[in-house]
Symmetry: C3
Subunit: 146 residues, 3 copies
């Protein structure tokens, strides 16, 4: 059941959305876009405020889950979200990267419960592809066999 997940996007370059190997899935960095349309744009702390950045982070998280579900068939096969890394395009002096990424973290727990809990790193970067305010990648464990 992948209800309430957005449609996945084609990769923005010469890579694949997800690689699964040995029960671990590596999901490519997701921007908050729908197809070629970037849904949020600009630096957090300048053009983009905290609440908007949290919504952008939530979209990135949903796209990570959608890519994962596409790759392994269903979110039911996710054993555990392991780590998420959140990159926040930050205006000078903006230091609430962790609050921004709470918008992403909540999505994983909402969809997966305990299996959605994760280690996390949040950093503030200079620029992100296409001018996005947030980018997110994840590593997840996948149930194999049965």
């Amino acid at each position: 059941m992948n209800a309430n997940l957005p449609k996945t996007n084609a990769p923005g370059g010469d890579y694949v959305p997800v690689i699964v190997h040995g029960g671990i899935a590596y999901v490519s960095g997701q921007l908050p876009r729908r197809g070629d349309e970037l849904l949020f744009k600009g630096k957090v702390g300048a053009e983009v405020d905290l609440a908007t950045a949290q919504r952008a982070a939530a979209v990135c998280a949903e796209l990570c889950l959608a890519a994962l579900a596409d790759a392994v068939g269903s979110l039911d096969r996710v054993a555990q979200i392991l780590r998420i890394t959140g990159y926040v395009a930050s205006a000078p002096g903006f230091v609430q990267q962790s609050q921004v990424m709470n918008g992403a973290s909540e999505v994983f727990v909402a969809h997966l419960g305990e299996k959605g809990r994760h280690a996390r790193t949040s950093v503030g970067v200079a620029e992100l592809p296409r001018g996005a305010p947030v980018e997110l990648d994840i590593i997840a464990a996948i149930r194999t066999g049965e």
Copy 2:
């Protein structure tokens, strides 16, 4: 024996300090703080000089080890530090991120010897949560069974 390691900090958001799965531990990004008090603040190359940044990196490394020990019971169960990623909040023109992170790398080797040797990536970012000069996350292999 987790002697000489600092007390772990509560996560700064909706995530967990460490996820262990399949013998691999993912430790969340650690800032150089004691509880809610940030021990170092500012950009490296501006408010924070190289030697101070190395000390901040060392604190982050100790906090990674403390979180790891808390999660698996003891550092004795660490089989190998695999990768560390160091994020250095960098003033324009500061390019000694690798020297900063030597302050962290030495901590892993001091506590774990050969098991503390690791692959490393060091980058200079625009901003870090709370205005920290350094953030560090790690991946480690954990001995299972016996």
Copy 3:
């Protein structure tokens, strides 16, 4: 056969080029350098244009593969490139990090075919060690046994 790969560089700090554990290789962040000589320098979007940055990214990718081949004996033992993370030192307003990293992605596919396809994250950072325009790290699966 590691033909056409550059000579590996000594690490720029207290770490090792590659850690292999449990069939997974973690390769340290690679800068586009030959020994102590940085082959490209400056911010992408300012001193370094897109085409030059793509060549720098390709050099980083070749150095990742060279380090991997050194660590495991031969690229023949690579089962799959899993994830690559590309850090692009970006001038303000430069948002083509993904295009830059296509220069790296192509190298993996050129050397390894399907096994070279990978998940990818590309971000724009403030500064990189030594003033490099691009840094790249990778995670790869290694064939074990036989």
